[in-house]
């Protein structure tokens, strides 16, 4: 029979998840106090759980807490797993950050092709690794993934890493790029992701927000913009073409993004409004919507 210390550690491994914070880590205290022999046993126990198909990144952190050679061997083997899982991404993340294992970026980049939870873990790992290759992996995934949930995760990690989140202000280039990168419009999206890539590479090279052109003052919306925001909240409101036509600069881009969202929701009024705003970006949204055969466009054409 395992003694009390080992029993407590084993119980910690299998403790129920009763709150969001329980998803983050196991109670590692019972593990930290184990002697070397019990730690060896615990490594085998964790290995058995992982081997039985349990995908639980907290087990990786338990192995890190044990810290023995055998524990790190398990982590390394897990990171190199053929199919990514949340656990394997956590393993790569820990190897990359704690052991500066150069393979971590590759493993994590591969994990970005997986499903949501795995991507969340891998993206966080790449955020922590904080080097240009990590950025490139995130950017490539951003350009390559269609799922908006995934793109949101990738964008958030990139923005926070490079301080772009501080410039997510209304009518700002960063907010507009974010909206476009998360939009369903392929042309607009591609352009935005390329812009974000330039910002990220520039920031990685040390460019200031001013040099990147993302630093803008936080100013309240104009009267025309306020009217548009209000009208968009009411599906029955008319969008004033005259007001739309006078929008300038960042507000014009913001309006295109907002109207693009309305178009995405199937609001017929957005088509005319986009025409009223005019310009290359608005046209890009309309062209993309047409190419995507959105029913709302068929109505508009009719």
């Amino acid at each position: 029979m395992p003694d009390q210390a080992l029993r407590a550690a084993l119980e910690a491994l299998d403790a129920p998840i009763q709150a969001p914070s329980d998803l983050l880590q196991l109670d590692l205290k019972p593990i930290a106090v184990l002697d070397a022999g019990h730690k060896a046993t615990l490594v085998a126990e964790i290995a058995a759980r992982l081997g039985a198909g349990r995908d639980d990144p907290r087990l990786v952190d338990a192995l890190v807490e044990i810290g023995s050679k055998a524990a790190w061997q398990q982590i390394e083997a897990l990171a190199a797993a053929a199919e990514p899982s949340v656990s394997s991404a956590r393993a790569a993340r820990r190897l990359g950050v704690l052991r500066r294992d150069r393979r971590a970026v590759r493993w994590l980049a591969a994990a970005l092709r997986s499903w949501t939870y795995v991507v969340e873990e891998a993206a966080t790992g790449l955020y922590e690794l904080d080097n240009y290759r990590a950025d490139e992996a995130l950017l490539e995934a951003l350009a390559g993934r269609d799922e908006v949930e995934i793109r949101r995760v990738l964008l958030d990690r990139l923005f926070v890493r490079h301080g772009l989140d501080a410039w997510q202000l209304a009518a700002s280039p960063v907010w507009s790029a974010r909206m476009a990168a998360l939009s369903p419009w392929p042309s607009l999206r591609a352009e935005a992701i390329a812009v974000i890539g330039r910002w990220v590479r520039g920031a990685r090279g040390g460019a200031t927000p001013q040099a990147l052109g993302v630093a803008v003052p936080d100013v309240p919306p104009s009267a025309a913009m306020t009217a548009l925001l209000k009208a968009l909240r009411d599906p029955n409101a008319t969008l004033d073409a005259g007001q739309l036509a006078i929008l300038q600069g960042g507000e014009r881009d913001w309006a295109v993004d907002l109207l693009g969202k309305a178009l995405e929701r199937g609001e017929f009024r957005a088509v005319a409004a986009l025409h009223a705003v005019g310009g290359a970006r608005a046209q890009m949204v309309l062209d993309d919507a047409r190419a995507l055969d959105l029913p709302v466009m068929a109505t508009a054409n009719a």
């Binding site: 039985a52 639980d56 061997q73 394997s88 704690l98 501080a166």
Partner: protein
Amino acid sequence: MQTAHQDDRAREQQQQRQQADAAGAPQAQAVDLATPTAPPSARQIDQTLSAGLPGYAEGTAALAQKLAREQTSQAGVDALAANRGALWSDVVAAWRAAATQDERFVKQFGNSDPIAQQKFRDVDGERYYEGGIDAVKPGFYGAVAAEVQTAPIQRDRIFPLMQRAAGSYKFKGTKIPGDQLAAMSRRTHGVGTLYSYALSARGASIVDTWARAELATAAGMTPVEAANAGLLPDDKAKLEALKHLLRTTYAGDAKGLAEPSASLARAETWYSPAEVTVRPADPDMAFADMMTVGALQPEWYADGALDLTIEPTGMREARKPTAFDGMMSALWVSRNQDDQTYGVTGGGAREFLERGVTWAAVKSAVPVIPSDTWMAELARLNAAVKASAPGSSVGEELLRGNDPGVAATAPAYEQVFDRSLEEAQAPTTVPGQSAPVGGAAMAPGGTFDTTRTPAPLHANPVLGAAPAPAPAPATPLPVDPGAAASDDAGTVAASAPTPTTPAAGSDAIRGDTAAPPPAPASTTPAAAAVAPQPQAPANPDVSRHAIGAAPGDWRAREIAAVPSAQVMPDDPGHVYHVLDDGDVVATTTPARVDPTAARAARAAAPTPAPAPTTTAARAAPAATAPAAPTATAAPATSAATPAPAPAAAAAPAVAPATAPSVIPPKPTTDVEYKALAGWAAFSANVQSFGLPEATALKGWKLAMDQLYTNQEAYDRLRSDPAAMTAWVDSDPARVGFRAMADDLLAAKPLDTSRTYALWSGKPAHEYAQTQGHEVLESVAIGKLFDDVRVVFREWNVMKTLWRAISDVYARKIGEIMQGHAIHVYQRKLGDIFAEVESKALAELADSTGVPPRYVFHPLVVTGAFGGEAEYEKPYANGPWRDRLTTAAAGDKVRAQGACEAVGVRLFSYTGIVPVGDLRDAGATGSASAAAAVMTAHNQDVDARCTRAESALLTAAGPAATPGTSV
């Protein structure tokens, strides 16, 4: 000694040549006169010449033809073959003549140098050379050919000759009008260059003073005494002093050390547009990043670099780079894109060449000085290559597949090479501009072709281009064939360091004596990960999973038996007996097995094991089992779906077991729902909110049904990422949870008069409450599952539950707080806020198109880190406590005293920090700004801990130093 040795060797070689001349020439003459025989054929001559000069087949064949035409005698051929210098000269001359064109000759001669191969392609594809490239190619190749003929040269290292020949063709690219140039530009400048060419009188004086002081201190004198004693710093000492100053006094800006009128370069040099500043980061990583952006070879900056921001004034003379300018570096990537003003570096930055810029135009010069370890290694590598492959460089040798002994700096080389290879193989494009003409710049077999043999070392692009093969094993640098056969003094064997060391970062793993286990090939993600560490049992009759004696009556209670190898591959040769109470005994020597083996045995038992069915067992129920619906079938159809045939042996490695989850069949009646583990606590929680049991049961059934559904979906879809992503983020994966939460919020609404906050890192939630906010944990919806131990334990499945609940909460507070900033209290980075709640709020904002407004409160504890565990290193209290205790030779009281002396309070917090000790380090508007505040705090504590450790080690003396025996 060395000089004498070299003199001796030179004398020996001279004697050998004289003997060869004396023996060869007269003999040939004698034979010719005495026995006139038929001259050898071209083939015979070629054989002789090839033996004398292997590796130059095209040349020896050409010379053989020539000698055959001239009817040269065998003796004449032999004499020529014996005289290596003459043979080289004749071979190259004949080859060059036979090729008829110098371009053809040079391309043939250099076809085994991958860098030359790439450069040939760059020259051929050049589009921006003023007046056209075709007009100057003959001159360029003629100059290379002439140099080839001058002295023996290795065919696989012809690139340095091309570099020299390119000199007069540089800075001839298309002119860039001044109005197209960015006002600001940047340049990477070597510290060595600053020292040698650009220090102002004042700067030189500062450096000299510091170097003198250093020298004097080392000698235990005053500077004046040292000077009087003749102790004056040499250039090396002064350069070291300059580096010290750049790391300290001038770490922010070094331009004050430079002479304003000094040119930035002796001729034209490279710039990029954009104003940049160097990121404050790990100096080695910052250095690597800097090299990467410019595609610079790290060894060029062995003394560190300066990041210059420049604002030139007046007339500017700038040009687009051409292939000849690009000869400067093996890593230069050609970029034929007409509508771009600039070229593009291998790092993806724009670049151009400009002349006549002086230090007066420099706005800032930020030093980026890597660690001493890196600089020492770069210097060592430069010396090794200089000795063994003169004219070449570390970067070139690595790109050719030769390893001069890169170790610590491997990450820098890998980063630079990877990025340049990516740019060459799959060039970045700019929307609105044409793609580069001719596509990728990569020449087959050239620098950037990772499929060639040998492959470039430290180059494994992970993105974009096809994955590179594993780097070739490190090979020593080849011996220069032009050197005398006996002259091996300069070979790598004597001068190069040891071959490549293991990858940085994995040293600790690979440094162990045992090799790590190979990654098991498996299609099951987590199953692929592990192979329990085999430990040979002392007695082969005893299971390795034995943990105690078997019950005395175990035979009578046995209900099933399973061969051990079928369920625990690490424990073959035994039989696992499942007992009527779920316990499992292994034989031959009867012994109870550990819980893992017991679970596996129960799961694989051919008759229903007494313990409730596990997920694995549900996947493979016994034929005699009741036809209960399985959780692996969709709920709508599960009752009607026959259970799959039992797997003969569900090996744990592939079974989707959720150890130790014990999931009964999905309930169908209220009684069965209430029989599920956790109901009593859940019901009590709901009723504690003043709600009836009926509300609790409704919520419970919604939650449980959704959990069953999600468990089934997880088991079914886990190998299909796209399907799994679609599922997790879809309504069907959340609808039950959301309905449960909505019902609860309808019955127990959030108080709209209150303010709500988000948090990360305990006890930030308590701190938020002290500031008057509500948090998820303080409201009913967050307390629903307090002390509820549900049967579902799978992390991914439980995450769907809590993600949905957090989503509902975040959206609800998003609505309540509309128009107001949402406060986020952060004790550590990431955590629930980043991973769950912020996502929900971002979704909300993205759907409205209006950016959310946050106020982040970084919460710190004076003298302590935000992290505690090993995985949170380096900013973790626990590991630092251990380290400091070790430094104090185990004396915790002394360790604590040393900490407190420098303001560190790690020993005061061995558990969760009391909420009263948290301090708001200043509200900010973004997560990145809050992260910067917390990182700065952690770095400060880290520095203090280091000081405490130093004090402890110094006080204790060497005997207490970790790693030394006491």
